[in-house]
């Protein structure tokens, strides 16, 4: 399956660069070079990397008005929340008219599943689209090839530029016109429950999910959040997806997965990934879904309809 048009084109004001490195020393060297270039050009820097990597950089360059280390713990493992997080992190500098550089690295060591890894890569691809028309800023994405070199080619396909030997060059693997090459969704784990829903079935749908959740020990606040997310997705099926959909629920690797299939087509791949404004009419459903679920997978084509999977981590 591939993502829909419009294909992401790197905007004139946005640069998105992959930095493959091997080990901590190379990470620090490359990141410090990038920060120093920014400081030489009177540009601000936002550093959004895992805590241990941030500590390495803090030892060299302390936080100040120009260089800011942001807490990524609430978003780093939730790919659907990252674009909005970057918008928020650079907002202050952008409002001052100052060019901004960012250093962003996902905590690949902590990734819980192949699905999460693929969603993190998809997020990298979507960044090109999300900031295509936005303010000028430059994001460097360090990627440790010592940990896993096999996925480097997939990462490269998401970045218009790549840093090699201290120089920024066009990334040959990136094709601005190519759709994102999704990994196929895995089959549901047996046993799974299935429920066909249509108008008027939202309470029954929530009951089905509650029954499955309780079997897996999911209750209270986390169940309420899942109910809210599930209701938003199912409501979209009923209103925009042909009036009905199919819910499947199953447990998988300490997670509860709720899958919704319908005949609709989600045209905008960025839907739900940017924060809605207070006066915006509609458009909050998918935003809430991304904010409330641990992982969200969305596949949508005009021919095959839409499949959305909501992953909720189960209590220990």
């Amino acid at each position: 399956m591939t993502a829909s048009s419009p294909t992401p084109l790197a905007g004139a004001g946005y640069r998105h660069e992959l930095y493959p490195y091997s080990g901590s020393d190379e990470f620090v060297t490359g990141a410090l070079d990038f920060i120093q270039e920014a400081l030489d050009g009177d540009e601000a820097v936002v550093v959004a990397v895992p805590q241990e990597k941030a500590s390495l950089l803090r030892a060299e360059i302390r936080e100040n008005d120009i260089v800011r280390y942001v807490d990524t713990s609430g978003v780093a493992r939730h790919p659907g929340r990252l674009i909005a997080a970057w918008q928020e992190w650079i907002k202050e500098h952008v409002s001052e008219g100052r060019p901004v550089r960012g250093i962003g690295e996902s905590p690949w060591d902590e990734v819980r599943s192949a699905a999460e890894a693929d969603e993190l890569r998809y997020h990298e691809w979507l960044l090109n689209m999300a900031f295509a028309q936005g303010p000028a800023w430059w994001l460097l994405c360090p990627y440790d090839v010592a940990r896993d070199k096999s996925a480097l080619a997939e990462m490269a396909r998401c970045h218009p530029e790549i840093r090699r030997d201290g120089r920024t060059v066009p990334c040959e693997d990136y094709d601005a016109r190519a759709p994102y090459a999704f990994v196929a969704l895995t089959d549901p784990c047996d046993p799974y429950e299935e429920f066909l829903y249509t108008s008027g079935d939202l309470p029954a749908l929530r009951e089905k999910i509650a029954a499955c959740a309780q079997q897996h020990g999911l209750t209270g606040r986390r169940l309420r959040e899942l109910h809210l997310a599930a209701t938003e997705v199912a409501s979209n099926s009923i209103r925009h997806g042909g009036g009905q959909g199919v819910l499947r629920t199953w447990g998988e690797d300490r997670r509860l997965v709720c899958e919704f299939r319908d005949a609709g087509y989600l045209r905008d791949p960025l839907a739900g990934r940017t924060m809605p404004t207070a006066r915006q009419v509609g458009g909050r459903g998918l935003w809430l879904v991304h904010q409330l679920c641990d992982l969200v997978e969305i596949r949508s084509t005009p021919d095959e309809g839409t499949t959305i999977r909501l992953h909720t981590e189960l209590p220990e």
């Binding site: 008027g200 409501s235 209103r239 924060m275 404004t277 009419v281 909050r284 935003w287 809430l288 904010q291």
Partner: protein, 260 residues
């Protein structure tokens, strides 16, 4: 403490109840309400019929208030009767309201305001108010919306609202049940009606089970619909509070306060 109830018959109507009596198309309002009216004498209650005079006037109806002939509001009229009943030594006032759709253009929403007034009246005075709606006169969506503003329900028609808004004893309105995309429009309409008559509306949400993005949008739209108004949500669970904030509604432009 008032709480929603489904009553098997009108015999079960108690002090302070505001009952939605949904009638089948073939039902006759007078016949189906005769026992409720007769019980007024049994319990020492004053009885008032609200309806068109030719229909209600008979030995069946001791006192008839015809909305079309009232000089003031229906609320003012029943409040007068409640005060009179108190002076005259009755236990309470029994109101049977046969509600008919307005035929005047632009007045279709007036029943909602009237029902909210009667709900407040029943809760505040202890009057027993039964609102009879015939399926012949009202369509299903309207009946569902009507049910939302009655804490009590009787009748053979199965119209069970997903949520109810009813008067709490502490100067607020209890919201109970589920407000999702199916009921968001009705919820917004009710809120607008409440805000039109009070600068601050307290919504007691301790028993609100579920509130989705459509419901929150309806709340936000209603709150900023009129100037100098405020909605206070009390007792909403942490998921509602989180979703409200995540939705971008927790800003000064939207006069909604989330209170413990």
């Amino acid at each position: 403490m008032r709480a929603p109830r489904v009553l098997p018959t009108l015999d079960e109507v108690d002090i302070g109840d505001h009952v939605c009596h949904l009638l089948d198309r073939a039902d006759d309002v007078i016949d189906r309400s005769r026992a409720f009216v007769a019980d007024g004498a049994l319990h020492g209650d004053k009885v008032v019929i609200v309806g068109s005079a030719p229909q209600a006037e008979s030995e069946f109806a001791p006192l008839v208030l015809d909305p079309a002939r009232l000089k003031g509001s229906l609320l003012a009229a029943v409040r007068r009767e409640a005060a009179a009943a108190d002076r005259e030594g009755f236990r309470s006032l029994r109101v049977l309201h046969h509600v008919m759709p307005s035929t005047r253009r632009g007045r279709n929403g007036e029943w909602l305001r009237s029902e909210l007034d009667l709900e407040e009246f029943a809760a505040d005075t202890g009057a027993m108010v039964v609102c009879a709606y015939s399926g012949a006169d009202w369509d299903l969506p309207a009946l569902q919306q009507i049910s939302c503003v009655h804490p009590h329900h009787v009748g053979s028609r199965s119209v069970s609202p997903a949520f109810r808004v009813y008067r709490a004893e502490e100067e607020g309105w209890t919201v109970t049940g589920t407000v999702d995309s199916d009921g968001a429009v009705a919820f917004g309409t009710i809120l607008c009606a409440l805000l039109a008559h009070a600068p601050t509306v307290r919504l007691l949400c301790h028993t609100l089970e579920f509130f989705d993005a459509a419901g929150m949008s309806a709340l936000a739209d209603a709150a900023r619909h009129l100037p100098e108004r405020k909605v206070v949500l009390e007792g909403a669970n942490e998921t509602v509070r989180l979703a409200w904030k995540l939705s971008g509604f927790a800003i000064p432009d939207i006069p909604v306060v989330m209170a413990p």
